[in-house]
Symmetry: C2
Subunit: 324 residues, 2 copies
């Protein structure tokens, strides 16, 4: 099944989520409503809500309960984007001005805090403290991931393990708990929600590596911002680390990264991109994406053969096949 | 009873809180541990934990439960200070360098996020979702308060109602729920925790107005930063608004505030402080402090005459009598 067909089948439930998302950030403070809604309107794939709803099918599916997980998870993702844009000094996201660019850093900081707070307000409407605990722990890990990213900016000596741990915290964890909490909220048993957690985690790892590849291989139109943005801001991703292991590329690439760093974020990344693209790093990173997708699908084995299982499998395949 | 005596009586329980505070921000990420601990070591009166513990005396006092309320509330307060310092461009707090001054704004932002997350991790160990809900709602209101402060910087046309609403969100609410949640966690009934909420709220209002007076009337040694810091950064507090209602002062003060604003935070505030100090605003603000304290003590009426009630009353009197 194509991705669009999966979304079409879930349309009415996703509309409920979308409506609640919009309502959730309408505050009695007009600027906060404006900044938060600005972000919401930029759209997105709403992959976290989709994972929550599909995972909810493995238990007692109740939309009123599941939306109180799906909406907070999407809000936490949005809040992390707003704070991320402050760090990355990003002017656009999804083709729109970022909150920090349209307003300022201070407003972006509190918009993120506010969206976080709203997320918690909604999830705490559910009486199950396990859900609150899992979410709180994930939020802490996400912060650690962000700090690690700052620490490792332009650090060409970091290991692949450093990178994997960082994207685990930054990206994979929230997708993992989207699956897990959808199942927990639906009253599924631990064996079920643990499998779904592993599915989400592995898809998340594949997704982030794919995203990092896209930033190196895609066009500005595909990415929504200029290619090479990661390396320009010092975010050393997996294909770059792998390229630095490639003796044909290493010294030239190190020198390019050094130049980009010295020019303080305004540097020309074209030469670096060329080196990375011709290195062995691309192929190895692509293989790793496939391996994570394989592990994601494997994690679903043993779950009942319902439509949601098929849908999750299809989504995993879609993540694997993203065109660069 | 003097404040010190109250603290002395609570010493062993406060030590447990202090130890847990220190433990809570020790992460596997060394920079986050360092930034968070930096803040923790600056100390403070730990008034939120004190309110939690004393309010817990009106129910079944259990330290293991109460610390899971007290520690998160103090952490949320600390996180708000870190984010506040980013906004205020503050170099020192409690006589120490702020996180944003010692590191940078980005690190301060994620340190705040991280401390927030840790607070949630601890409070969600408690199985009572009502506690989680109250806390989440307060966090949203606190953000709105911060945004209102940004919106109202250098706005000399704001009303006294704007000011009161802002400090309610920024300060009073967290003290109110410190009292409320201490009692909720101890299993007290709604009549009891509502009274304690009102006590904390009114003390909080008095405290913030007192703090705003101190910034205008205190010495650098008393305040821990130069007097007039609020007006320098555009934070128009109650005594200033009242001074602007004083026809003997109004025009000269407006012109001074205009100058300070034009000089972008580096302005000389001495003339403005002189005008405010000789205005009627000081006396009226001091009277309002007394009225809030009176209302705080009134809110305790009807609660059993236990030592904790006496202690809370004494603390309220202490807040009223702070020396400028």
């Amino acid at each position: 099944m194509r991705l669009l067909d999966i979304y079409a089948k879930m349309k009415s439930d996703l509309e409920v989520i979308e409506e609640r998302l919009a309502r959730s950030v309408s505050s009695d403070h007009s600027l906060l409503t404006e900044t938060s809604t600005h972000l919401l309107k930029a759209g997105g794939k709403r992959i976290r809500p989709v994972f929550v709803l599909l995972s909810g099918k493995f238990g007692q599916y109740d939309l009123a309960t599941l939306e109180r997980v799906a909406v907070p998870l999407e809000l936490i993702h949005m809040a992390s984007l707003v704070h991320d844009d402050v760090i990355d000094d990003a002017a656009t996201r999804r083709g729109q001005l970022t909150v920090k660019a349209k307003w300022d850093n201070r407003i972006a900081m509190y918009t993120g805090d506010y969206i976080h707070g709203k997320a918690l307000t909604i999830v705490t409407e559910l009486p199950n403290p396990l859900i609150h605990q899992i979410l709180a722990k994930a939020m802490v890990q996400m912060c650690i991931g962000e700090m690690e990213q700052i620490r490792d900016f332009f650090n060409t000596k970091q290991t692949i393990r450093d990178y994997l741990l960082r994207i685990r915290r930054k990206t994979a964890l929230l997708l993992a708990i989207s699956c897990q909490l959808g199942a927990v909220a639906a009253g599924a048993d631990a064996a079920t929600y643990n499998r779904l957690y592993r599915f989400g985690y592995n898809v998340g790892m594949a997704f982030q590596i794919g995203d990092d590849l896209l930033d190196l291989l895609g066009t500005e139109k595909q990415i929504g911002k200029p290619p090479g943005s990661d390396i320009r801001q010092g975010n050393i991703t997996l294909p770059v680390l792998l390229a630095l292991n490639d003796p044909n590329v290493k010294d030239a690439l190190l020198s390019e990264i050094h130049h980009i760093h010295a020019e303080g974020g305004a540097g020309d990344t074209r030469a670096a991109l060329k080196l990375i693209r011709k290195s062995e790093g691309i192929k190895i990173a692509e293989n790793l994406v496939s391996r994570y997708i394989f592990k994601a699908i494997q994690a679903l084995e043993g779950l009942p053969a319902i439509t949601a299982k098929k849908n999750l499998t299809d989504i995993a395949h879609f993540v694997a096949k993203r065109n660069y």
